[in-house]
């Protein structure tokens, strides 16, 4: 029982990271109707950026986290403004291809700037490790869980309580009508990229003390985040969180009780089953078009 609970906790914490990656996909998808396959690289960048600033340059951790988030958000905006906005073809498929290319470029730049070493960042600290009998939550895990809660509340507030958040929604639904209301759709899209990328940077920074920061991390984090976003229902933020948690927990349980070799497979089998039987995702969203 203890180890079941422990696996569950372990899966939830991993799921929190997947959820933040999935939220990045969701926010960008909602703003611009494209799946941003460079999203995983934002998490990578947050991690290696934090490692570079804190471990290599020796700056304080809190400043490192802020810098990591800010730089990643800046990269996100740059990606939207410099590449996607200026793309000759506004065709969704070619824009998605463009995000894949940008992702590769970000990975290369990450390796070039921050090096190819595997770096662990110190724990954020503050919280002690939580022990309940034999079951425990590591200090960094508490940070991750609380951050996801805070991010969830902040996003909910942004999109359902602020005019700017609603304007972003509007710009994605009816870009022309939004422009005719005085909303600049490009600004809204850039803001969405900034939020998604900043969130990715935050998730990457949170993960860096647990697993290492490494320039190749973006690929698998991106895939898990994408799977979570689709499983939960593309475009549905709550779905992204639920999807992330489910994939994290199922992975941990299958590693704990089936075979650790198959756990990645299990996550993608869930994705396949969801796409087969509930193409709109578990919580509903836009069904994924066949391209």
């Amino acid at each position: 029982m203890d180890s079941f609970l422990q696996n569950l906790i372990s899966g939830c914490l991993l799921g929190c990271i997947y959820a933040m990656a999935a939220l990045g996909f969701t926010i960008v998808f909602n703003a611009s109707r494209i799946v941003n396959f460079a999203n995983g690289e934002f998490l990578m960048l947050g991690g290696v950026g934090l490692a570079g600033v804190v471990v290599t340059a020796g700056l304080p951790l809190w400043l490192g986290v802020i810098l990591a988030i800010a730089c990643t958000a800046f990269v996100g905006v740059l990606m939207q403004v410099a590449f996607l906005n200026n793309a000759r073809s506004a065709d969704e498929l070619s824009l998605v291809m463009l995000t894949i290319g940008t992702g590769l470029a970000i990975r290369g730049a990450g390796a070039l700037i921050f090096g190819r070493s595997v770096t662990f960042v110190p724990d954020f600290g503050l919280f002690p490790m939580l022990l309940m009998g034999d079951v425990y939550i590591v200090s960094q895990g508490i940070w991750i869980a609380l951050t996801l809660v805070a991010v969830g509340i902040a996003l909910w507030y942004l999109f359902s309580r602020t005019t700017f958040g609603k304007a972003m929604k509007a710009a994605s639904q009816e870009p022309r009508a939004a422009a005719l209301c005085g909303i600049e759709p490009r600004q809204a899209a850039a803001a969405a990229f900034a939020i998604a990328a900043g969130l990715g940077g935050l998730a990457g920074a949170l993960l860096a003390p647990i697993s290492a920061a490494f320039y190749e991390n973006g690929v698998f984090l991106g895939l898990k985040g994408f799977a979570a976003a689709v499983a939960g229902g593309m475009g549905n933020p709550l779905g992204a969180v639920v999807g992330g948690l489910i994939i994290g927990v199922v992975e941990a349980l299958s590693a704990g009780y089936v075979s650790s070799g198959y756990k990645d497979g299990v996550a993608f089998i869930i994705l396949l089953l969801v796409l087969l039987f509930r193409p709109q995702g578990l919580l509903g969203g836009v069904s994924v078009k066949r391209v």
Binding site: N7, S10, L14, S117, V118, Y136, A212, G256, S260
Partner: protein
């Protein structure tokens, strides 16, 4: 200059060039090629190998060369890319006319270069630890690094001596980890030990708590980890958090001071099976390899003012092999001559073991002495176990 004059000049230059090469060939010198990734993801191997190569070449030439032959080094960076490596090996063979090549240091490159070396009949002394490169032996290819077989056997024998015969293993789901798992399982059977549970993890996984919990339930006496970082560090941290008290033995995949830095407290009291160069100053005087390891470590640190890596031994032993083979040749040097000299028997204490190259042993290490030693982490330092 008209066309005819120009062509004439070119021809003259070509003739001069050829003359120079033939002059160089006939002179008493050893043209020594070196190929390794000094940039790119495999640079952590190639960079220090290149440094020790340069160091040794400089030493030979300062002492009047090898057996009176001046050493002319030709070095290229493969970037860890086997296509690049293949082009550069051809360049070494055809344009640079080297007599023997040291390198490369990754298995992927070595598998490609082996074919070219055999076709071109040039001795290739790889710095890899892949057994299949030299088993069965082919006429021109050799290696210096210890193999997975050596290390897995060493880890298991160490455990057996401690009385731990019920073993759990956790390996990464990549080429390195899978090879490790295969050898650990095969050798455990030979030694009459039991692998009670074999766990895997993805090379980019971030949390191995579920595997640790399974291993805890399995009632094992020792856990063996076979992977390169970051996996082992995450496992050590998860194990510490989960209160996993079973002894842990890591493979040579993490044998570097980076482990101490990254895993910190959670690495305390765990073991690592490593090449001797991880602890050049702590080897007992009774160790037959102690003099050679201590010497190269001292020279390397003096010249470059940076800590020595375990990979230094791979290049050191390769260059040493070339030296001893060349010294056996009295007449003019040839590629075949060097390959035959090695196969006729070259033995020396290297950094990576007691080397005994012969017609049947192209891997180097003999079976009398383990090429690796066991160290334990005590108070944040590696000490002999």
């Amino acid at each position: 200059m008209d066309r005819r004059q120009f062509l004439g000049t070119m021809a003259g230059a070509a003739a001069l060039g050829l003359g120079k090469i033939s002059f160089a060939q006939s002179a008493n010198e050893l043209r020594l090629g070196f190929l390794a990734a000094t940039s790119g993801p495999a640079a952590f191997l190639g960079a220090s190998e290149r440094l020790v190569f340069d160091l040794m070449v400089e030493q030979y030439n300062a002492a009047g060369g090898i057996g009176g032959r001046k050493v002319v080094p030709v070095t290229y960076d493969t970037e860890g890319n086997s296509t690049v490596a293949a082009q550069q090996l051809r360049r070494l063979i055809e344009s640079d006319k080297v007599d023997v090549v040291v390198g490369p240091s990754t298995t992927g490159e070595a598998l490609v270069l082996r074919t070219i070396a055999e076709e071109s009949k040039i001795p290739l002394i790889t710095m890899t630890g892949t057994e299949s490169i030299v088993v069965p032996p082919t006429p021109y290819v050799f290696k210096t690094a210890p193999t997975d077989r050596h290390v897995s056997l060493h880890m298991l024998q160490f455990a057996k001596e401690k009385g731990w015969t019920n073993i759990g293993i956790i390996t990464s789901a990549d080429g390195f980890g899978q090879a490790g798992a295969t050898y650990l399982k095969a050798n455990a059977e030979k030694l009459g030990m039991k692998i009670a549970l074999a766990e895997e993890f993805g090379p980019r996984d971030t949390d191995m708590t579920p595997q640790i919990l399974r291993l805890r339930r399995a009632g094992i006496q020792a856990l063996m980890i076979w992977s390169v970082n970051p996996g082992p560090t995450i496992i050590l941290r998860n194990a510490e958090a989960a209160g996993f008290k079973t002894p842990i033995i890591n493979s040579f995949g993490v044998a570097s001071p980076a482990l101490l830095e990254q895993a910190g407290r959670s690495a305390e009291n765990t073991y690592v099976s490593t090449m001797r160069l991880l602890i050049p100053d702590l080897l007992p005087a009774s160790d037959p390899l102690q003099p050679v390891v201590a010497k190269i470590a001292k020279e390397y640190r003096a010249k470059y003012n940076q800590p020595v890596t375990t990979f230094v031994g791979n290049a050191h032993d390769a260059v040493k092999l070339v030296e001893l083979a060349v010294k056996k040749i009295s007449g003019p040097l040839s590629r075949d001559g060097i390959a035959n000299a090695i196969k006729s028997g070259v033995s020396f204490p290297g950094c990576n073991g007691m080397m005994a190259y012969s017609a049947t042993n192209h891997g180097g290490q003999d079976d009398t002495l383990s090429p690796v030693v066991m160290v334990q982490i005590k108070n944040g330092k590696f000490v002999p176990a």
